[in-house]
Symmetry: C2
Subunit: 202 residues, 2 copies
Amino acid sequence: MKRVDSPSGLPPKEPAPTRQRILEAARVEFAAYGLAGARIDRIARNASASKERLYAYYRHKADLFSAVLELNLIEFASAVEQGAGESLPEFAGALYDHSVAHPEYLRMIDWANLEGQDLINPPLALIEDFHAERVRAVIALQASGSVDASWDPDHLNALVFGIVSCWIHEPAAALAADRAPDPATVAARRASAVRAVERLIG
Amino acid sequence: MKRVDSPSGLPPKEPAPTRQRILEAARVEFAAYGLAGARIDRIARNASASKERLYAYYRHKADLFSAVLELNLIEFASAVEQGAGESLPEFAGALYDHSVAHPEYLRMIDWANLEGQDLINPPLALIEDFHAERVRAVIALQASGSVDASWDPDHLNALVFGIVSCWIHEPAAALAADRAPDPATVAARRASAVRAVERLIG
DNA sequence: GTAACAAAACGAACTAGTTCGTTTGGTATA
DNA sequence: TATACCAAACGAACTAGTTCGTTTTGTTAC
């Protein structure tokens, strides 16, 4: 019997090796439920894989969590560095857009923050690299004169991050958000975040 | 035989009714491990109470979580309204101080944000009340001319919240914080947060 | 004071369901 | 044959929640 992965004449559609399907399913699961709340059986089922395979590729649940976190950090960093060059307000806007389009990334970071304090062996280095690069970018902007040089670049970086993600963490905004993105609100918030950063650097 | 609650001549030391000891232990447990990660047995043990008593006072685990969240929100709101009146930067400073002295409150809010989306029956109203009050305060400050009136008060409120808590959520700062508060850093961050808010309202 | 009573609490065992991680037997592919 | 895989099941530990007999504590009446 032949493989029927691509029924029509469509491109081969690389059948997504089992390992990656598992990682992808784990990504969804961990972002939604965190480490303690995630269920291995659910990950395997959603990956259309067997648990036997899951444990063939990842030793522990925490191992898989760590792999997801690592992948997320890499993708997040690369996505962020796209809209990085120009100005800090533009960067904030790009970051905001990304967080709206892909909330899983910030969720995963929050989970790691709350319950992953121990199992951040490879991820930790990634975080530090990413952070260092961002701080370098801020320093460069300060040197170029477009950003107030009296700010501690480390602090300014954190502030931008905090401003962009404020609606995700502010209780009223976050809990009221039972499936109600509302394009107009999103746009208005984006504008406020950008404006806030503009004021900071002025 | 006489009561031997206070061995020495110290004040009676109201022996903390079981129910409250349970609530207090649950507070610590949930703030540390979240809803899914918390262990009922551990709560009972740390409360020096029996599980029988725990379930006599609270129906479910989620019930207890909800009670903890509610208590936290009430205390947080009242603590916050202390340093509320004056200026927005001062308010931000007070909020920052509180978050440093009592990180459990923001942790609990984060947990609720991530995994408590369903069980926020009484808490939700509290959050909305607290939010409404904060927004009113911002509007008053705008009317008095001390805060730029062109800001959406709702947004400004969220921004202040995001600025104050940015070091809690920024990955590098949060994960690097393996028991390293460092008074000087804390003070510098506080100053930056206050300064950031000053720039926003100017 | 003390006997009687009830509420609050203890503690230990127990139920029933869940969950991680492992194993086993079997199929398909190269 | 060897590798990758699956479906199913299993075991052991864990967990929420319950039950029950006993003890402590506070109150009320005598």
